[in-house]
């Protein structure tokens, strides 16, 4: 039951991570990935910066991933999250889950995302037209935890 948590500033190679995740496992029929991308709907975002809490970040992500493994039948779990400056369209993070069953892989990936959003110590700051502003947490994100 492999679990990998990566916190880094550099971009990660999503294609290679997706390709390599659970590769060679013959007992896991279902693989789900989620990728979060720096979103710029209005076309005015100049950039984003993610602050985090070194030390606690890795612990929190590992705890969330272990909780997912305890709840669902997962052969492999991967969480990668970046911090530091990022441009619109860049990938911020990914999770991946592999399970014998598709429902487990989907639910575990959604669980990981819901908890990661509100329980892992990351904070986003957006820069538009020279101004910076901290992204506010959304009530829906906190409410999303209630279903688990």
């Amino acid at each position: 039951m492999a679990l990998r948590v990566v916190v880094q500033q550099e971009p990660f190679d999503f294609g290679a991570e997706a390709e390599g995740f659970a590769a060679g496992r013959h007992d896991l029929g279902a693989v789900v990935t989620f990728t979060g991308v720096v979103r710029d709907v209005a076309g005015t975002l100049e950039g984003m910066e993610i602050e985090h809490y070194p030390g606690m970040t890795e612990k929190a992500l590992t705890k969330i991933a272990e909780e997912a493994q305890a709840r669902w039948s997962l052969g492999e779990v991967l969480v990668i999250h970046r911090h530091g400056p990022m441009a619109p369209g860049e990938r911020i993070m990914m999770v991946a889950t592999a399970s014998p069953h598709r429902q487990d892989a989907f639910e575990a990936a959604e669980f990981l995302m819901d908890y990661l959003k509100s329980r892992a110590p990351f904070w986003k700051k957006e820069r538009s037209a020279g101004d910076t502003a901290w992204v506010a947490a959304r009530d829906e994100d906190e409410a999303a935890l209630d279903r688990w």
Partner: protein, 82 residues
Amino acid sequence: MIDVLYFAWVRERIGLPKERVESQATTVRELVEELRAREERYEAAFADLSALRVAVDQELADFDAPLAGVRELAFFPPMTGG
């Protein structure tokens, strides 16, 4: 002595990322009250505790958590990762 860390706008309001605090406070809440009484910038950062989160030794906790044996406290706004 406790290491106290600040992140995101809490860090910006207080004006530093980390400091060592000497205190006789027995809970997080008591320590926050001491800090608020100390200087305006702490009052600005801690005015609305419902907008803040706290971690005790790198685990999320609540403001009534005891401080006995604690080495590291951190204050920050709700997280926005993902």
